[in-house]
């Protein structure tokens, strides 16, 4: 059986695309099908993501709209930025269980043009409980952990800002339609951006974008008929821990510690084997916390790892080579799917100016809520079959 990831597709990303939720989902799906020369009828399973303003029944609506009915398997994801890494595993399990053969994973939304940045920020903050200080917005909740890290380990604001500088540098290598932000920015420029919640400036917070992506998981047998490099799921792990940031068990670590250990053990890989690092980057502190949790440095040494240059395209562990949520695109819940399509692109050798030489193993991470839910997958380049 051995399910593999095979084709992917992406919409343009940016502001004011003037496409609605289901139209963006169809755009991404069409690109993914075209990538592997499949028809809508070849799809017999779907994992999708609800729009920001959840309708009562988004899944049947999307199934009908995409023209892929009847399906044997369909579900919505619901763990925020960890959704899509989780979905890889869900799809692989469904295929191994014989529930479906070819599953479409798609996520797209018109967060910028349909909802609008200020409304998104206000409505997301509604999820902050009255018991937790309702003046908070999502960036300020993450900022609590950022200041804890600065005070506890002597990490500097500039080291945090460098994470955003790497994201902008990598986004600047993308084709224009592929990245919301196109300009490289220095750490000093990032520190000079307006303060949102100390120590996080606006350039250290995820963008609010329109756009989305899709990819296809199918059996190895089916993939053998497709003229594309298959990507194998070698290991997976997830942990779900808390909701309120004040109730996070400890700022010392997230569920990514165990999720990462599980994924890397299952894949039988060590840190030295990882060629591409796709870490969910809703804020700079998210990346710093997770790099330590995943063991790419000792706890507290994330700042030194950033300074070392290892996370740049030419470094040992190139980070978010598409630019991530900080510079490429963040259409809300769908954001994490771009970390996966970029991993596929790298492993298939199609990343153009951002290509990591001989990329054969990628680690993809997703984070949902306020460090609440963590998922890690190890992906590996397979052998192209078709002539």
């Amino acid at each position: 059986m051995n399910p593999v990831l095979i084709g992917y597709g992406e919409t343009s990303v940016g502001e004011s695309l003037d496409y609605r939720y289901e139209e963006l989902n169809m755009w991404a799906t069409q690109e993914a099908l075209r990538d592997v020369d499949l028809e809508p009828d070849d799809i017999d399973g779907l994992i999708a993501t609800a729009p920001f303003r959840t309708e009562r029944f988004p899944l049947p609506r999307l199934i009908e709209y995409l023209g892929i009915a009847p399906l044997n398997f369909a579900e919505l994801t619901g763990v925020g930025g960890a959704s899509h890494v989780n979905s890889i595993n869900r799809a692989a399990n469904a295929i191994e269980n014989g529930q479906a053969e070819t599953i479409l994973i798609v996520a797209a939304d018109a967060l910028h043009s349909d909802i609008g940045p200020r409304t998104v920020i206000e409505e997301l903050s509604d999820s902050v409980s009255e018991f937790e200080e309702p003046a908070n917005i999502v960036p300020s909740l993450y900022a609590h952990v950022a200041n804890w890290h600065l005070d506890t380990f002597g990490t500097t604001r500039k080291q945090l800002a460098k994470i955003a500088a790497i994201a902008h540098e990598h986004a600047s290598l993308q084709r224009a339609e592929r990245a919301h932000r196109q300009e490289a920015k220095s750490a000093d420029e990032i520190l000079d951006a307006p303060m949102v919640a100390t120590p996080l400036t606006a350039d250290q917070c995820a963008l609010i974008s329109d756009g989305g992506a899709a990819f296809i998981v199918t059996t190895e047998e089916n993939a053998a008929e497709i003229d594309q490099v298959p990507v194998r799921l070698k290991g997976f792990g997830a942990r779900h821990t808390h909701d309120h940031i004040s109730q996070m068990p400890s700022f010392e670590e997230t569920g990514a510690v165990k999720a990462g250990q599980q994924a890397m053990a299952e894949a039988a890989v060590s840190h030295a084997d990882i060629d591409v690092l796709q870490i969910y980057d809703c804020f700079t502190i998210t990346v710093l916390r997770i790099l330590e949790d995943l063991g790419f440095c000792e706890r507290g040494n994330g700042g030194d790892l950033v300074d070392s240059g290892a996370l740049r395209l030419t470094g040992k562990w190139p980070l978010n080579t598409h630019g991530g949520a900080l510079a490429q695109a963040h259409p809300g819940m769908p954001c994490g799917i771009f970390h996966i399509t970029e991993a596929i692109r790298q492993l298939q050798g199609r990343a153009e100016a951002a290509q990591v030489e001989d990329a054969s193993t990628a680690l993809v991470h997703g984070n949902g809520g306020i460090f609440s839910t963590q998922a890690v997958a190890i992906l590996e380049r397979g052998e192209r079959h078709a002539d």
Partner: protein, 135 residues
């Protein structure tokens, strides 16, 4: 001091009681009578043993700053308060909760001791408000 800032909107009787106590300067955590667990925020069932037999227990009001931030861009209805210093505080009783700290952005740090600013609770706004204790 009268305020037009939004007050909490309790949806259950125990939430109403909680905010009433806060307005009177008496901040509480939930104390499970079945298993002795203390927790925050209050809710109908104890998160440890699922019992609904719990009582409010007044806190001493002292604790230690764990995480914190100065919010320069709060939600719109709190815009006039900005910047707001918000902190996650480990109470001496054990549980953590989030509250405001009445201080300058630069003054707060992880590990600083704080205590409830009781007069502020009853006069300004029924939000949990702390003040820094001397180093």
């Amino acid at each position: 001091m009268p305020t037009n800032k939004p007050i909490p909107t309790p949806t259950t009787e125990y939430e109403r009681q909680y905010w009433q106590r806060v307005a009177n300067g008496d901040v509480c955590i939930a104390h499970c009578q079945a298993c002795d667990h203390v927790y925050h925020p209050p809710r109908r069932y104890c998160p440890d043993c699922y019992s609904d037999e719990w009582e409010f227990k007044s806190i001493a009001g002292t604790g230690t700053v764990y995480g914190y931030t100065s919010i320069h861009r709060p939600t719109q209805r709190f815009a006039s308060d900005a910047p707001i210093v918000s902190a996650i505080i480990t109470l001496d009783e054990g549980p953590r909760l989030m509250g405001r700290v009445a201080c300058e952005s630069e003054a707060i740090a992880a590990g600083r001791r704080v205590c409830l600013d009781t007069p502020k609770l009853s006069s300004d706004n029924v939000r949990l408000t702390f003040k820094l204790l001397p180093k």
